[in-house]
Amino acid sequence: MIKSLFKVACGLFLVSASGISHADETCMSPYMAKIVGQEDFVYVWTLGEEGLGDEQDKLVTISVNPDAPDYGKVVDSLSVGGRNEAHHSGFSDDRRFLWAGGLDSNKIFIFDVHTDPAKPTLHKTIDDFVSKSGGVVGPHTFYALAGRMMITGLSNNKDNGGRTAMVEYSNKGEYVATHWHPTDEDLRGAEKSGQFADGYGYDVRVMPRRNAMFTSSFTGWSNYMMDFGTMLADPEAMKRFGNTAVVWDLHTRQPKKVFDMPGAPLEIRCAWKPNNNYCFTTTALTSQIWLMYEDEQGEWQAKAVADIGDPSKVPLPVDISITSDDNGLWVQTFMDGKARYFDISDPFAPKQVYEKVIGSQLNMISQSWDGKRAYFTSSLLDNWDKKGELDEQFFKSYTWDGDKLNLEFEVDFKKEKLGSAHQMRFGAYGLYGMDRPWENEQSDEGADEAAE
């Protein structure tokens, strides 16, 4: 039997040893194994659409290994019941389970992805997130810490606004603690460095070597569930966006400093190299790239370092992805459907060097560790996606040759009656010490032929 050479790091990445702050592939936690070679599957957390297929949210598994016999096909679809506003997901630190949240129902679905990576199963559903957390609504980012899952909230059960908290769970799915974002009334020991301390939340990332944790801020249930066009024309609603990012003490979970970051800073991606003590984020409404960096005095600072397209036209930057060499940053803009590549070799002066229209609308990107493959999906939020024919729903697989994106295959989520494609996570047999089935089959066939 021929054993394939999996380029999969199956052990825990020790940050001090590897010198890597955290993996992308895309944007995994430093506390887990990561795939540095060819991924076998992409799991797409998909929103059910009323009137389409079975109308409910589902985890869709797509075969993405070019050597696989079912390459480019949907190999599994696991419906979970209801339209929960499926949004983001994240693996546990052992990468055996994928936690996926519903921003509306507040349910958390924990999928077993290790028993059979080609066919995830629903292991557990947490449906008491709001009551256990003390009123946090909208479980968004699922980010593995050591033995823990840190879950960011977007809203609360008192006014459906943007004030919220992070909620910490054990790997077993047991509630541990709620960490409220600092507000003017209760900064929780943090420094309000500018004019804002809104208490809003969105994403979380960590830089363990600096004992730092970073959060950004979006908006509450009333806005993220609202019809997007209606919201744009509602001045009161448009005031209800976050304008802050916060740096926290990772170990104590205490907020240390609140940065002004006007216009809803969303995804946070930190640099890889051991001396690159900085993280990027982008503001959705004001269309800027922001840098959070440690200065020479060891103090964390924040600065807007570039515009994304023409901010006056509101291109709406959404997902971002940093390359493993810290030299490139993919920035997706929803409204014009463009993937934009920025040269960030000078993090204080990012320059856009490439762009390509991926579809009528575009949200998420997941790129491979080596940066050679990039996957894109279309959906932003159910009621924010474009309407009518512009509401394309797709998964598209591209290769990146350093100069341009080349389409390899795509899955039309509407034609397949799946729903609206949102966040992607990678799976691989090698993570769990398994051989790829088709390689076994090829090996067996070869052995049979040799015997004949």
Binding site: D104, G135, G161, R163, D186, A197, Y200, W221, S222, A264
Partner: protein
């Protein structure tokens, strides 16, 4: 008692009348809790780059329960005899039950929406943060969420006056597909009757499990306790406190009852003031929304002090068509009722922005300016609406007067609401 369901009398006999304890101490001004009557993350001044957040901690959002049964029948300056405006005889057990139902997010189909998610206590029991509320799965609701303060003083309910009692009204949002989206009455009742606390509460309050009638009664019991008079205006008008209103507010009152003729519909009586005539009128606001100018551009707020203008078609690509609203006509199908909406009370109006049936006016100044120009002229416009020729100072005085209509009791009600447990799936 103005209205009472058949069959309630027996229930009331069985239930303990729990208004015995005086609420006087709790409702005295000295006991008023420190509560902000505005959104917890106040956005005042957001249109300026000088904006600073003024955000409260949700962990500190605590309250003190009020004896609502006593409060509901406690006379308040400027309001009619409380016993005359009751829909149901106040009962502590029923009110407690209704309050729990009101804040129970499990009562929507996907267990994420309670009545209080659109009628937010510190926001005047409406929502200051949206023109129109967002319902089940984010579905659009075409009308502004009305304040529930003093709701029992209305003779009919909803801005098209389609419902005749608070108890009946309660079922509409529970069943509306774009609000709480429950598939049936039975489904709601099963949800309620599965809960051990409700089992006990319904037994205590009504001697039987939840049913279609007593769920409505309980919600009505809580809502009719949200009585909020005794404003500065009331002390000036009905208690001879000549210092209660500023000169500007007094000038505004003169305009309100004189040149501006607001009091033609927003009635002020000799003994009390409802600030509504309970009638439906066509002010032109509905006509304007239905019939006039599609915007070519919209201004979008991006961040404090930062806004941009985008073509309306850009927003249309990500938005559903604007809903139409014909007001009372949608109930009566009588063409004469097109764009007629019920006169809202103006009590506590300073706290209940945005305004009009569709929330299109964000400030009181927007409202006064609309009426100052004579509403929106068209053939069906109410003859009561005409250009007012108010000066800028007069506009300001009118607004100042309306700001004098905020109840001194409101913080008690909000503190009581803060003390209520919010129910989520467990």
């Amino acid at each position: 008692m103005r209205f009472q369901f058949a069959g309630l009398a027996l229930a009331l006999l069985l239930c303990q009348y729990a208004a015995a304890d005086s609420n006087t101490e709790a409702s005295s001004e000295a006991a008023l809790p420190s509560i902000r009557l505005a959104p917890g993350d106040d956005k005042s001044g957001y249109d300026s780059t000088a904006y600073q957040t003024n955000s409260l901690s949700l962990e500190h959002r605590k309250g003190t329960a009020l004896n609502l049964a006593a409060f509901a029948i406690e006379p308040q300056l400027g309001l009619p005899d409380p016993k005359e405006s009751l829909e149901l005889e106040p009962n502590a057990a029923e009110i407690a039950l209704g309050r729990r139902l009101f804040f129970d997010r499990r009562l929507s189909r996907n267990q994420t929406m309670s009545c209080a998610m659109c009628h937010i206590p510190e926001q005047g029991f409406t929502s200051n943060e949206l023109k129109r509320p967002v319902g089940f799965e984010g579905r659009s609701v075409k009308r502004n969420a009305p304040s529930l303060l003093n709701v029992r003083l209305y003779e009919r309910f909803f801005v098209d006056a389609r419902e005749t009692s608070l108890a009946q009204q309660a079922w509409s949002p529970l069943l509306a597909s774009n609000e709480m989206n429950n598939p049936s009455i039975g489904h709601v009742l099963e949800q309620i009757n599965r809960d051990p606390v409700y089992q006990q509460q319904f037994k205590q309050a009504y001697g039987k499990p939840a049913d279609m009638l007593n769920v409505g009664y309980a919600l009505a019991q809580y809502q009719q306790s949200l009585l909020a008079g005794d404003a500065a205006f009331d002390r000036w008008k009905y208690a001879s406190d000549k210092t209660a209103l500023s000169k500007s507010q007094q000038a505004g009152f003169e305009l309100f009852t004189g040149k501006a003729a607001c009091a033609s519909c927003h009635l002020i009586g000799d003994q009390y003031a409802l600030f509504t005539d309970q009638q439906l009128h066509n002010t032109g606001a509905g006509y304007q929304a239905s019939m006039l100018g599609e915007q070519k551009e919209i201004t979008v707020i991006l961040a404090p002090g930062i806004e941009t203008t985008i073509p309306a078609e850009v927003a249309q690509r990500v938005g559903e068509p604007k809903p139409n609203d014909l007001g009372r006509y949608e109930v009566s199908l009588n063409p004469k009722d097109r764009w007629k909406f019920r006169t809202p009370t103006l009590r506590n109006v300073a706290l209940t922005a945005p305004y009009m049936h569709n929330g299109e006016f964000l400030t009181l100044k927007d409202v006064v300016n609309f009426y100052n120009q004579g509403g929106q002229a068209h053939s069906a416009l109410s003859p009561l609406i005409r250009p007012l020729n108010l000066s800028a100072t007069e506009v300001d005085n009118l607004i100042a007067f309306m700001q004098s209509l905020t109840s001194s009791k409101l913080k008690l009600l909000v503190a009581d609401a803060f003390a209520a447990d919010v129910q989520d799936p467990e």
